[in-house]
């Protein structure tokens, strides 16, 4: 008796389980939306803002956490912490006024949605010319004692050359005199004549 009861009940039970799983899946699928981020930059007076508009299926998403980064050589520098999108789906970042960029003052800004419950991970990047040059008292190649051989301090070059020239000049004079000793010898003169 129990066996037949179980047999009859098995199929609807299984159907119920399957339906339940499918509906849960659908619900979850509905919650985890795919989103797009569109970055835009606004400068007003001295205030610089970067806006990230999060859209999903043409509709702006509110209450989504967006993280802003600046792309650096080795890693991503976080800017401003976690910013939540407002009613219009815009997350607004107060752009730092003293952030350096590359040689042309360009900064690559990346906006990411990570680990959000309802939105799939996505990111977007844009370049903006808001870089501020770092104060560089760059004297690595100026003339100094620590520099390369062609960048020696001028005074050192001049003084050392003067000293060397004078002293070796005197030595050269002495050496020439030594040859004059030889020349003034009648022995050698006689020898060369007789030879």
């Amino acid at each position: 008796m129990m066996k037949t009861f179980l047999k009859i009940k098995k199929i609807p039970f299984l159907l119920l389980v399957v339906l339940g799983l499918i509906s849960i899946n659908r619900v979850w699928a509905d919650e985890t939306k795919t989103a797009e981020i569109k970055l835009s930059f606004h400068a007003q007076d001295s205030l610089k803002t970067c806006n990230a508009l999060v859209m999903s299926e043409g509709k702006p998403l509110a209450n989504v956490v967006v993280k802003f980064y600046a792309k650096r050589l080795y890693s991503l520098l976080p800017l401003g912490g976690d910013i939540t999108t407002g009613e219009e789906g815009i997350a607004s970042l107060d752009f730092p006024k003293d952030l350096p960029g590359d040689e042309k003052d360009n900064i690559i800004v990346i906006a990411k949605i990570e680990d959000d419950e309802h939105v799939a991970n996505c990111q977007s990047q844009a370049t903006i010319n808001w870089g501020v040059k770092v104060k560089n008292n760059d004297h690595w190649n100026s003339r100094s004692l620590s520099a390369a051989r062609d960048k020696a301090p001028t005074l050192l070059i001049i003084v050392s050359n003067i000293i060397i020239t004078v002293i070796w000049g005197v030595i050269a004079y002495v050496v020439i005199q030594v040859f004059r000793i030889r020349k003034s010898s009648s022995r050698i003169k006689n020898k060369t004549i007789t030879n």
């Binding site: 080795y74 890693s75 952030l99 520099a147």
Partner: protein, 314 residues
């Protein structure tokens, strides 16, 4: 029925897992083998023998022709006298995090083909005064902006580059060791020519881990030191020591970008120094180091004596 389904799946999963691991190991093993031993043809070439440092720390002699190593590849490492354009490398070391794990030392040694006791990066136990707390102090070449070492080099073999790095041209160095005498931080080391020093480190082709570094090993009779891993920087990789540290003690970056990173956390250099009271070691010497320290306040770990390692290998 569910149980039956589960039982059937388990052995399959187990088999798949096993298969993947076995296959992966085989591939890795073949790669390592190729790197070390090469094909039979390569072995037949009797060339010079080279000492190779294996992952387990043993020294093995291998035919040079069989070695594949990024430092032997002529395109991966850059000309030594040119700085990476637009960069000014800088480092911040957080003394509150250092626990003398010495993984940075090992990582650097592996990347630069050195066996102990030669270390570019030394971790010392410092105690400034009798009553002050001891702390662990990782220290390497500071790449000073007013370097006392480049001042005294007679042949221009060590020099300051545009990217802030104080580099050494191993082809020019005559081995007079004046720079070693001039450095007040004992940052430099010399290849005295030991039979126990490796000339290469075993590596897997395509390895981009913290042990990968295309910088060639130091020739005998020349000076070498920490070089801030510029060959890794050119590929966007942080230096070996930075990535090897389990606590993220060393932050490395570009002062022109005002950013430093330890691989996981990235900060603005100016903010980090201001917030945490960054300072430079022995500022009064006037060498203007490019390495800053954050004082050991609110330490992550208590100072532990038993992690002190002693390198007594000659």
């Amino acid at each position: 029925m569910e149980n039956e389904i589960e039982n059937n799946n388990n052995p399959r999963r187990k088999f798949l897992k096993f298969g993947l691991i076995a296959g992966g190991t085989a591939l890795v093993g073949m790669g390592v083998n190729k790197a070390l031993v090469g094909t039979l043809k390569a072995e037949e070439k009797s060339g010079t023998k080279v000492k190779v440092l294996m992952a387990d720390g043993k020294l093995v002699e291998v035919d040079r022709a069989a070695i594949e190593h990024p430092s032997l590849d002529s395109v991966t490492h850059l000309p030594i006298r040119e700085g990476l354009p637009g960069k000014k490398f800088v480092r911040v070391i957080d003394l509150a995090r250092c626990a003398n794990a010495r993984k940075c030392v090992e990582g650097c040694q592996k990347a630069h083909n050195m066996a102990s006791p030669y270390e570019y990066l030394k971790v010392r136990r410092m105690q400034d005064a009798g009553e002050t707390a001891p702390y662990w102090f990782p220290q390497m070449c500071f790449h000073c902006d007013n370097p006392p070492c480049t001042k005294v080099c007679p042949v221009d073999a060590t020099f300051k580059r545009s990217d802030g790095i104080v580099a050494i041209d191993s082809e020019r160095c005559v081995g007079c060791r004046f720079c070693m005498a001039a450095c007040p931080y004992s940052a430099r080391t010399f290849n005295w020519g030991s039979k126990d020093q490796p000339q290469q480190t075993a590596t897997v082709p395509g390895d981009k881990s913290e042990n990968y570094c295309p910088t060639p090993p130091t020739p005998v009779g020349t000076v070498s030191k920490c070089d801030f891993c510029p060959d890794r920087a050119a590929q966007g990789l942080l230096p070996s020591c930075v990535l090897s540290c389990p606590n993220g003690t060393i932050f490395h970056g570009d002062a022109n970008e005002d950013t430093v990173s330890n691989g996981e956390e990235t900060f603005r250099l100016s903010e980090l120094l201001a917030k945490r009271g960054g300072y430079r070691y022995m500022e009064e010497l006037g060498t203007e180091p490019r390495v800053y320290y954050l004082p050991p306040v609110n330490r992550m770990f208590p100072i532990e004596e038993d992690t002190e390692k002693h390198n007594t290998h000659e």
